[in-house]
Every structure is written in structure tokens, then in C-alpha cells.
Amino acid sequence: MSLVSTRDLTVTLPPDTDRAHAVDGVSLEIAKNEIVCIVGESGSGKSITAHAVMGLLPRGVRATGGEILFDGVDLLKEAPDAMRKRRGRDIAMIFQDPMAALNPVVAIGKQVTEQIRAHCAVTERVALAQAADLLGQMGLKDASGLLKAYPHQLSGGQRQRVMIAMALSLLPRLLIADEPTTALDVTTQAQILKLIKRIQAEREMSVLFITHDFGVVADIADRVAVMRHGRVLESGATAQVLREPAHSYTRALIAAVPSGDNLLAPLPDAAPLMAVTGLTKRFRRGGFFARNAVTAVDNVSLTLKRGETLGIVGESGSGKSTLARCVIRLLDPEEGEILFDGADIAHLSPRGLKPLRRRIQMVFQDPFSSLNPRQTVADIITAGPRAHGESAKAALARAADILRLVGLNPETMHRLPHEFSGGQRQRIGLARALMLKPDILIADEPVSALDVTVQAQVLKLLDDVRRQMNLAMLFITHDMRVAAQVCHRVMVMRHGQVVEAGPTRDVFAAPSSDYTRALLAAIPGRGTL
């Protein structure tokens, strides 16, 4: 029998939004002791469905039709107070970003005990002992120390374990996990997925797991429902949906998960356009008297040829972004040299750098914050050329061509960034960089904020542009799958050092370091997809 079943659930959005319903007639079954995944892209209604079950829809958003039966009781008809008492006790939830989901100014212990004491009449001491025990079960060491710590003192993985501990503290029958691993590093993601699966099996709990990643679905789900535009397109046993997807959209989603086939072959030998040797960047911590420095980039060397994409892969804190910022001289490296077209630019003065700035351009991760919201696209993408002395008229004329090149309609160039979708904005970011006719393009996680299908399009675009303009590209990513798609060679970084480097094919087929092997093993859905 199902623990949860929604029937024709409809969730209505406020009148001034672009569509009427966030969720439009969704029927789902979650049996006891099973993990059901809802998979979909942003705007599919997957998250709203989960929040409706929890009774925590955002302000102005209301469930207006259908029912949500929990153990036979319609949750939509429950009194607010009764629903509140279910939350945390019968149904618990964990969220995407474990940093934002924990109160930054309250100690961890207090946050866990608050959950326990909201439903059970126990003293703080008893609750704290229980909390310590729970943290231990989640595989966290030094539980009593953690209870006194604040969220910012924990790593992302630790925080998510705390969240899970909190959610499980009252043995709920349903755990709702809303993209719980999206904000985590791959290796951490693999651990958290394993943890959720283990806990679920031990406690015979039901789990509703929301994700955009079919790799994660393959790893964790018993059954899967594919959502798009507020409707369930297809649902069934995971193996079956993966093997024979009935709907074309499902096929597109599965195809968008990079497979690691047809990897790019390394380019033939040629003189490098850029050669970095022994680059080191330290950050002093603390103020004036600080003695301890953190070495963010430690003696890193690399070469880059024209027309080549070098992937720099690493988890957060590996120093990959710092390396990129040093190469483009947004940061000043302490040691090492950066030979660009034969000249060392590592210690060039700002004035000397100016003519070179044009030739090395960057595309940033977040397509939302990296474009000035009050400037039109035309202003944004012609600003660079104008700063380098091109006339506004000439720049505008070229802007139309470049926009066409990145797949945007030139007629839209007088609009503001907010009128574009995430994928389109990333294209604008790329157009801005290309306007300066760079020799080297540095792409810092250019697709990690995008939906999978959009990700695939932007990756293809980057690769096309590289071919057409014979660009050298430094591609920074935390995602081995993404690196596999566009890079000729990859360099794996950890703690500021290069762990392994070589042609993509070799690194994937026969990784030489344990860390690379761990990274590859952590790729969700590996082996299934």
C-alpha cells in the first residue's frame, strides 16, 4: 500500500506570474520503504510538488485541486496546527544548500535539539545526548564538538549530514530530499547518496527525492517520475525508464548526461600559446600580524596550444578558480612565470597588461550575477571593444554578428539581461568575451548553474566557437563528466596542487592517482547510464 499518494494535485501560482499552475494534475505514489525520484529541470514543478506534500508552499502559491493522501489522510484538508505537528515528526525534509538551510547564528546542537523538543517533552540535556548519538550515526566524528560549532565552521558534507541527522531525529515515515547533493562536491555527493540509501533501508523509510540529474536517479531511485511544465510525463521503475524511456523528453534528459564516450583526442604537437611554470599563490589569513598563509595554488605548471581545450578539474577549495584568476592576472601570483605569446606576464604592471587583457577573456559561472542588470545587452557586449578604442558604431555592427554566432537573435540586443533565460545569459557572457577577439578563453564553471539540456547546448556552443575561432580554452569545472565532453587534456587539482594531468582519454581510461580514481568512481550513474 502507498504511504503517500497525490491525485491530480494542482498548485496555482499568483496571478501575475508567467503561467497559471506550477503543478498541473500530478498523481504520484510513494510506497512504504521505497525511494521515488522526481526528475526534471528548473520550472518543472518538481520542487513545488515536494513542498506541497510538506505543506510549506511559498507565500501566494496555493494547492487548489486534487488531494495528497498520507496514510489515508488528505494533507490538504488538515488544520494548519495538525499539519505543523506532522512536519518534522511524520514528514521531514532536507534542502539543496546545506549552508543556507542551517541558521548561521545558532549552534548546531541547539538546531538539532530544537527539532526534537518541538515534538517531544524532553530536557535540553536529553535532547543533546540524542543529537550527539544521531550525528554519530550519520558518520560524523567528534559529535560533542560539532554540537557546539556553528554552521560556517563545518564543511558542506558535514552540514548536509547535520541536516539529515536533524530530519531523521524523530524517525519520520517520509523523508523529502530536495536536491540534497546539488551544492556538494562529487565525492561528497557520492557519500551523501550512500548515506541516504543506507538510512532508508535501515529504517524502512519512504523517500521522495528531487533531482535534475539522471545519474543520481540511476544511483538511488526505486521508481522515477519525469516532470516537465508541471506535469508528470512518464513514471515507472528506474531500470525500465532508463532502459526504455517512453517519452522523447526523457530520452533527451538521459542523453544530456555526459556519457564519457567519444572523447576528444589530444591535438598534435605545436608551440604553446601559453606556458605557465611554477605558479604559486598564497593568501594571508587574518590581518596585519598574520603569520599563517594558505597556499591556494602550489607550484602549478601547464601549457595551452591554439585550438586546444585544457580542463582543470577539482572540487571546491582545490585552487582551480584561483589558478584561473592568476592566469588572467585578476590576482597577482607570488611565484612562477606565465609566458603568453613569448612574454612573461606574471609580473607585468597594470599598464603593461592593458593591451594583453583583450587577448585573454573569461566567462563566469553565474549567468545571473555576472551581467550588469541595468545595462542592455548591446552596452554590455560592446563595453570591452569601446574601452580598447573601437568606435561604438563599429562595435555595434560586430555585436550583431557575434550574437548570431552564439545563437542569439541580434534584434534582442537592446533588451536587459533579466529578459533572458539562464542559458541565453550564458551565451551573452560568451558573446561579451568573444567581442574582444581573444586568443585565450577562460571558462570558469560556465555550465554548472544551468539545466542539463541547456548545459549540453552551451557545451556544444563553446566547442563550436573554439573550432571556428581557433581559440585556446582553459575550462574549469568540478564535474568530470563535463570535462570529458569538451577537453583535449585534463589536469586534476587538489589542495592547490596538480594531482594528475594528461590527455582526457588516458586520464579517464587509466587514471594514475587514487584521487582521480575516487573522482571518477563518484560520478553518479556511472556504469548504469
Binding site: R86, F95, N103, P104, V105, V106, A118, H152
Partner: protein, 325 residues
Amino acid sequence: MNRLQFIAMRLVKTALVTVAVVVLSFFLIRLAPGDAATVMAGQSGYADEAFMKNLRAEYGLDQPLPVQLAKYLGAVAHGDLGTSYVRRQPVLAVILERLPNTLLLDAFALVVAIAGGVWLGGIAARKPGSWGDAAVTVLAMLFYAVPQFWLGMMAVLVFAVWLAWLPPFGIETMGADFTGMARLGDIAQHMILPGMTLALYFLASYARLTRTAMLEVADADFVKTARAKGISERQVARRHILRNALIPLVTYAGLQASILVGGSVLVENVFSWPGIGTLAYDAVTARDNPLLLGIFIITAILVSLFNLLTDIAYSIADPRVELGR
């Protein structure tokens, strides 16, 4: 850098700021035409060239400015702020006699402003766009817009003259010679009108600030987590929303304390409150430069100390902030 190093560093900075304030105001004051000698001569009703010259010699006003400054700085370094021309008393003693009155009034205004502002802001944030929210917004705009001296005079008119509920001026009832609790009660009564007048402007700021901060925090993920725990809305609001929304208020409270500590010249004068503000006013009109400079120095030191206290309070309110980081 640890806590103690940070505090030590800040105390050094305080000293530097104080020296800068002394030097700047020393020259600034002398930019105005005339000097203490003209004022004293005017008061004595009799002045000829020789008398003025004697006066200037007596107070060292005939020496070149840099020499005067050097002498003054030397004296200040030894804790001697000079002698008031008008009162013929050591400047430090005069200021220290008045300072507690100003600090008392400030503390009262600070507490009223924060408590009232947070309360009103909380009401406004509960249902944005509601009648309560609109009422708080209008009230806040009103308190912002009304000049303090006018508000003070109206308060005197209504509560002291018409209703006769509260005393209109001073810090205690003259000639009553209360002692103990009776005296404290008397001072408290005198404090209400000037204190409220000072507080209302800041109260409006706190109300607006609290409202904005609470609405911002209300959308944070951890508030969703709190609701997912099944705790009551009241607890969500208090423990999670308000607790985080109060952090920016710490900065503002520090700012307010710094503004008030120089003595609110207008309000103290309207209510004849014997604090630093009235003292500064008297010093300016009487050209009592040593006294004025002394007030500047003490105020500068207090403002620096309040800033330090604010930073320390901030690091307590927000565990993510470490002193010296």
C-alpha cells in the same frame, strides 16, 4: 590576530584619531574672526588696546599658532585639557561633571529607540502591505521628517504646559532637594520628554531597518528548515527570523551611540538638560576655546570606543564574524 591584539590595535588607532581631531579643530576654531579676548573684553564692558594685549598675553594668545598648538598638545598628553576662560575651572572637571547627564539621556534614548523600533518593525514585517505595515511606515516617515527641536517644543507644550504631566526642563526639580529613590524618580520624570524627543528619530530608523531585515531573512532557507521542523510560527519568528534580523541593528546602534554622545545640542538646549550639548553651545557662544576643544577630544575618544564596542558586540551577535579577521 587575536582578540586582544585587535583591541590593542584599535586603542592605538583611537589615540591617533584623537590627535587628528585635536589638530584639526585647533585650527578650525581659530578660523573664526575674533577670539576669547574680544568676548571677555566685551563682558567686562571696558577695553582698550593695553587691556586686550594683557589678556592675550595671559592666555598665550599672542604666540604663533604652531607654538600654541605644541603647548596645548603637550598639556593634553599629560591629561591637562586647560582651563575654561569663562568658568575659570579645569576643562576636564567641567566636562566630567556634565558627561554623566548626557550618557544617561543617551542610554535612555537608545533603549527606547531600539525596543520601540524593533517592536514596530516586527509588527510591520508580520504582514507586509497590511494596515499595520502602512501605519508603521507612515509613523516612521513622520518621525523622520519632523525637526527635533520642533518636536521637543511641541512635547513641552502638550505634556508640560497643557497637560502638566511632566516637567518641561532641567534634570531635577530645583530647590526640592529630594534624596534616594525620590531623587531618582524625579530625574526619571525629567528625562522622559528630552529622551523621547531624541529617541523618536532613531526609533523610526530602527522600525524601518527591522522591517526590511525581517522580510529579507523570512525568505532564507533556514527559515524554511525551521518550519519543516514543525515548530510554531511564533518560534520561527523569534528564534530564527528576528535573531538574524537584529544583526544589522548592532551597527546602527553603534552609529546612534556615536551621534548622541557628542550631546544633542538642539534637544539638550530645548530642555535645558545640563549635558555636553548645552555645554558645547555655551562654549561656542562664549568663545571658550579650551572648553570646546576639550569637548571635541572627549567626544572623539568616546566615539572611537563606541565603535570598538560595536565591533565586539557584532562578533558576539554573529559567530561568523571574528574580531581582527
